[in-house]
């Protein structure tokens, strides 16, 4: 039986490679545990490094479509990459199972029956954090994000659930080394809380600067995608007390999650991140779909099987909405010491249940 080809495109080099690596490792974990098969059929995973460059991703997309003729791709790590190649794939009849980025346009008017996003819609973490801030009754909040599209989206998301006007919105250049100018202003403004979004290495610098300025513990730091599985190993105790929102945490109950966490830690000697979790789910989802179609990659059958989402998500509560983005629960976590004395994330509260993104209503799909 010729194996089913699955394209995996992720950022595997450059500063953001940690995300892509976690996604790839988790995906391969499932494949290897099943003896090189998904859904009972052998699969060949063709991994490609998008280098976080849209033009390179484009080139890879050409290759996967024309040369490798894959029926299905997954990964895609960042929104700009998914935006650059999503349409290309779906137009060519390739099914996309995005496992991290969830850009708004593809959730709304530009949604496609061939495109699934297993992770979340980008705004939703911010919405969960906004909800938390509202619940806590914070009145004066300053936001800090890098000055690019995702940074602005995360503010929009936050405001969707937090209606009080922000005290100030600070945008910092993307390649900034140092945050003391902004932190000095925060010190002088004395807000109730700070809301921040700094993914990857930026998060490490930012949390350190926040901690070294003596603010951590004094002014609550609410974050999204800043302290996660990829940055915590670098931050360790420095990040104790940081709050973050996500739809997955390593301490979530459920056998599926416990198996995932222990298998991942066993194989790769590190704690999985949410990126790993989503990619793991993507592998499980594809596994369930291929099992349903008995290995057939006929597009109609495959998309129907994917949409059914007949698998045990590590997140427990999971189903696809009309736009093929998930409907799930969102939580707030805190960085704290776990049983082994390592800094890890611990669930604080569930903020949103069965929550669907705000763009689904613009999607014509049923």
């Amino acid at each position: 039986q010729t194996p089913v080809k699955i394209g995996f495109m992720g950022v595997l080099s450059g500063p953001q490679a940690a995300l892509g690596q976690d996604m790839l490792d988790a995906f391969m974990l499932v494949v290897e545990q099943n003896g090189g098969k998904l859904g009972g059929v052998p699969v060949e995973v063709i991994r490609r490094d998008s280098q976080l460059k849209p033009e390179v991703a484009n080139q890879i997309a050409d290759e996967l479509i024309e040369k490798e003729k894959v029926p299905l791709v997954t990964g895609m790590t960042f929104s700009n990459i998914l935006m650059a190649v999503g349409k290309k794939f779906t137009n060519a009849g390739v099914v996309v199972v995005g496992s991290n980025a969830g850009p708004a346009p593809l959730a709304g008017a530009q949604c496609s029956p061939n495109l699934f996003v297993v992770s979340k819609q980008n705004d939703q973490f911010a919405e969960a954090m906004g909800k938390y801030a509202t619940t806590k009754g914070y009145k004066r909040i300053i936001s800090m994000t890098p000055n690019y599209q995702a940074g602005k989206d995360y503010i929009v998301g936050f405001k969707r659930q937090y209606k009080t006007p922000l005290l100030d919105e600070m945008y910092t250049p993307l390649n900034q080394l140092d945050f003391s100018a902004e932190l000095a202003r925060i010190v002088s403004e004395k807000p109730d809380a700070v809301y921040a979004f700094y993914p990857g290495g930026l998060g490490v610098s930012f949390v350190r600067a926040y901690q070294q300025a003596g603010l951590l513990g004094k002014i609550p730091l609410l974050t999204t995608s800043t302290t996660d599985g990829t940055t915590l190993p670098a931050l360790k105790d420095t990040a104790l007390g940081v709050l973050l929102s996500s739809s997955w945490g390593p301490d979530m109950p459920g056998a599926a999650n416990q198996k995932f966490v222990s298998d991942f830690e066993g194989k790769y000697k590190r704690t999985p991140s949410e990126y790993a979790a989503y990619s793991y789910d993507a592998a499980l989802l594809i596994d369930s779909a291929l099992r349903k179609t008995a290995g057939s990659t006929d597009r109609a059958a495959l998309t129907a099987a994917l949409k059914a989402a007949d698998f045990k998500s590590v997140r427990g509560n999971f189903k696809f909405g009309n736009n093929n983005y998930p409907i799930q629960d969102f939580y707030v976590y805190e960085v704290a010491k776990d049983a082994k004395g390592n800094a890890n994330i611990k669930t604080v509260s569930k903020e949103l249940s069965n929550y669907q993104d705000a763009y689904a209503k613009d999607c014509p799909l049923k």
Partner: protein
């Protein structure tokens, strides 16, 4: 109140300036004085940070980490120069760009192969993690230490280059290596050592800056550009220039980020100001550099060749 904020922003600017100086000091030596374009400077910075982080994780000693970081990188640089890079001195800038770009790629990947893609853990030593009271505010001692280190380093290099025989010889062999050799000096060894020292300074920066940024593969790439901006504004080959330029860039950048958004909101609608402010802040140091070079093509302290 307003003034104390202003003052702390000035201090922040100085601190960023010293950070930049630490990053560019080694580059000025190698590039400005040896006239060798070393794009792998950022890699030495990264390697320094990694070596230090790895040592810290094993031994827990911040000072030992610095020793291993700087020493290790100097060793790497020494071997590299001996085996390969010295052949490039006579080959012109473009070949140097090509070669060191290749090295940069290699080191970024090698580091990833050894330590993985995730940022690695480092921390400041306990004895520097507090704050010190300073003119009515409290300022993190580690960052104060960076300011002090920058100033000391500037002084040290300045004296080395301008007040010692070694410095004279280094400057002389940047233009006439053969003549220096014919006058009895082992110019090759001198270059090797200087290259290693330049790399060591980069590693020093990596060790000191590691605990406040994220130690990860590729961390040196953007830093390299910043360092280049600094030494070009200062005037290539001028330690004094690099020092003042680093301070200026640090202050301009910090002040721009601290006050530009508010100032722009005075004139513009908030949404426009919020969009334009940070974009302008990102461009600020480049605008600054372009403006300086347009007026003074040789930088602030041009060195005549």
């Amino acid at each position: 109140m307003v003034w104390s904020l202003f003052f702390s922003q000035v201090l922040n600017g100085v601190q960023l300036g010293m950070l930049l100086f630490l990053l560019s000091a080694g580059l000025t030596l190698v590039f400005g004085i040896m006239n060798f374009i070393n794009l792998s400077h950022g890699s030495f910075y990264m390697l320094g940070a990694y070596f230090a982080a790895a040592t810290l994780a094993r031994s827990g000693s911040f000072l030992l980490a610095g020793l291993v970081g700087v020493g290790g990188v100097m060793g790497v640089a020494f071997v590299l120069e001996r085996l390969a890079l010295r052949r490039l001195y006579a080959k012109g800038h473009l070949n140097q760009v090509l070669a060191t770009l290749g090295l940069l790629m290699f080191f970024n990947e090698a580091v990833r192969m050894v330590w993985g893609s995730q940022p690695v853990f480092t921390s400041q030593p306990a004895w520097l993690s507090g704050s010190v009271p300073l003119l009515g505010m409290s300022y993190p001692s580690y960052r104060l230490m960076i300011i002090v280190a920058g100033v000391l380093l500037a002084l040290g290099i300045y004296l080395l280059i301008h007040k010692t025989r070694v410095g004279m010889l280094v400057r002389a062999s940047s233009t006439h290596p053969d003549t220096v050799a014919a006058l009895g000096i082992n110019a090759r060894l001198l270059n090797t050592l200087l290259f290693a020292v330049g790399a060591g300074l980069a590693a020093l920066a990596g060790w000191l800056v590691g605990p406040i940024v994220s130690v990860q593969s590729g961390m040196g790439d953007d830093v390299l550009i910043l360092a280049l901006v600094v030494i070009v504004i200062g005037g290539i080959g001028s330690i004094r220039g690099a020092f003042y330029a680093a301070l200026l860039v640090g202050l301009v950048d910090t002040m721009g980020r601290a006050y530009m958004p508010q100032i722009m909101r005075q004139f513009l609608e908030r949404s426009v100001a919020d969009a334009a402010g940070p974009a302008l802040a990102s461009m600020l140091i480049y605008l600054f550099m372009a403006a300086i070079l347009a007026v003074r093509p040789g930088g602030l302290f041009p060195v005549h060749r």
